[in-house]
Symmetry: C2
């Protein structure tokens, strides 16, 4: 009988849910590509939906997590994480990494 | 900005999902009370539903996880975990405890 542990991770504030795997992947893509449109496309999200996700998190936290670069080239979507966005990403990644490490030790 | 990590844990075999928080609570109750009816009631499950949960897990694993004591007193429901049932409970509890410990270290 081989049993493998699996988990789902998310972050909450006092007000409840803020940040899970989907938003993690989006922020990770923005950090990597410097571009919201490209990050959203890779996750098969529309640009509009992706902005909605980001705006909702920012509203919950009372601080923006992504800054858009306006007035850039056509077809742009240039964007970068704020310090708050980076902190979210790092926090999620840290816990995800620790949980993954524990859950990879299957003994059964 | 205070961020708290939360998680959901479950166990899988090669065939997929087997055991999560609900089944954990049920098995834990059976171990504690030695009685399926009492364990189910505490979780607001019907006796029939609880047996369904237990049977499904046993079918997936190809081994029973709970043995019912038949022919007992009226209003009985006496039951105990098999070795497989105990192993499931212990495995889940071990990982849950490790993940809880990690997720209680909030620094943000």
């Amino acid at each position: 009988m081989k049993l493998e542990p699996h988990f789902k991770l998310w972050l909450e504030t006092e007000d409840g849910y803020v940040f899970g795997q989907g938003s993690f992947e989006l922020l990770h893509g923005i950090e990597e590509k410097g571009n919201l449109k490209a990050a959203a496309e890779e996750l098969h999200m529309s640009y509009r939906y992706a902005w909605g996700v980001i705006k909702k998190i920012g509203d919950t936290l009372g601080q923006p997590i992504v800054i858009a670069h306006r007035g850039g080239k056509v077809g742009g979507g240039g964007a970068e994480l704020t310090e708050t966005g980076k902190k979210l990403l790092e926090t999620y990644l840290k816990f995800k990494s620790d949980l993954t490490q524990i859950c990879s030790k299957t003994e059964v």
